[in-house]
Symmetry: C2
Subunit: 216 residues, 2 copies
DNA sequence: CGGGGCTTGTGAAAAAGTTCACAAGCCCCG
DNA sequence: CGGGGCTTGTGAACTTTTTCACAAGCCCCG
């Protein structure tokens, strides 16, 4: 009934992005008690096309029934599994500044299975203070705590000039994936997954689009 | 000397992303006092290829000199202009929670010309309080203040269920571009530029990549 | 139990984006 | 002032991603 039809091929970054959007839409549908959804319906709620939805999903298996569409609870479960969200991910946060603290309190992380199990900072004023019940520890303790708590993902929200050193230590301590909010490019071994988030880049994309409209 | 060789064609989203990266690299180079950089050098610092750098830039004009590369200060200026950063962008922030406050204090925004000129929230506990010298105002005052202060870009950091209503009011008040941090899809007229930032999507992309490695 | 109406899954076509490869051009040195 | 060594700008080839189009399949109704 659900044989992955081919070796689970590489999905492009855009496909992965869309899978996240499908997941979000399915969450909503499930909450609304909708039992079944078509590629059409999913496309409308995710801002893409029905064909795209079907292609994306077909990379990982045949989850629908012809004539009927997809069962919401089933597809929800499948997409979660595809995205690797059918397990808990132990996460460390490095940098307890404003962005770090905001992320820490972001409820969707926990809902998706990301568990922040350690928070680090180098500012003596912050060390020892608590973020939602977790104590901020100095960066010197990072290697030890990362290993002890089995942390696999690190989120970097330190200033750009400190980010590379932090990233290197994280990787040496066993972290396999890094979400980098610092506006700097990290140099790490290729087996480490790095995802850069640049808040100003997002505004710049807006600015580009708006400025382009004003040009002849 | 710099005639845009063709009607400034549409740049793909990936090109725009890379332009942001080039800008970041050029900022660093300028700060280091480097006078000239080749497409090779720019590529290394932005994680792409020399050919890609040249193609991206050639969409907008001929900025280099053969045999020599690009003059850093000149190219910096050009890229800023291409991205629409050669002017100030008046911005409003809707939602003075953690993420909103973090963005407000993010120095890179201001450096790039984005000026937060109004902050709104509906929480009576927050209204009247200050964020870096700017008073948080109730959402009821939004239309008036947006117009009064000539705001063109809105940043939405309210909970998902409130985002659509806020977005609609923003657009009705004259905003042309929206950066949406709320995990929900906005329905707005097509002439409005919308850029969605989903923090959990970024973590999910990591999770997908890490989980994929563990699969057979 | 068979036909009609939908909707999936998927090859094939089209479009978009990236890489290649090289002529054109610039600077410097002799 | 001419040749050599680099580096850009750019058509053409290639790759990836998206869209199209339709056969296959499922359900329901009569």
């Amino acid at each position: 009934m659900t044989p992955p039809p081919a070796p689970p091929r590489r999905a492009s970054p855009s496909t992965v992005r869309r899978l996240s959007l499908y997941l979000r839409a399915l969450d909503t549908l499930a909450a609304e008690g909708v039992g079944t959804v078509s590629s059409q319906g999913l496309a409308e709620r995710s801002g893409t096309t029905p064909a795209q939805v079907r292609k994306d999903l077909s990379l990982f298996g045949s989850f629908g029934r012809r004539g009927m569409g997809y069962e919401v609870p089933d597809l929800l479960h499948r997409v979660r599994a595809i995205l690797g969200l059918d397990r808990r991910w132990p996460v460390a946060l490095v940098g307890a500044g404003r962005i770090g603290s905001a992320l820490f309190a972001y409820p969707l992380f926990r809902e998706r299975g990301f568990e922040i199990r350690a928070v680090f900072d180098n500012d003596p004023a912050k060390i020892g203070s608590c973020r939602e019940g977790l104590e901020v520890r100095p960066v010197t303790e990072l290697p030890c705590l990362i290993r002890e708590r089995g942390i696999e993902i690190g989120i970097i929200t330190v200033p750009a000039h400190a980010a590379q050193a932090i990233a290197t230590v994280l990787v040496e301590s066993g972290v396999r994936g890094i979400l980098n909010f610092a506006p700097t490019r990290l140099h790490l071994p290729p087996e480490i997954e790095v995802n850069e988030v640049s808040l100003s880049m997002e505004l710049e994309a807006l600015s580009f689009a708006l400025a382009a409209r004003e040009r002849p």
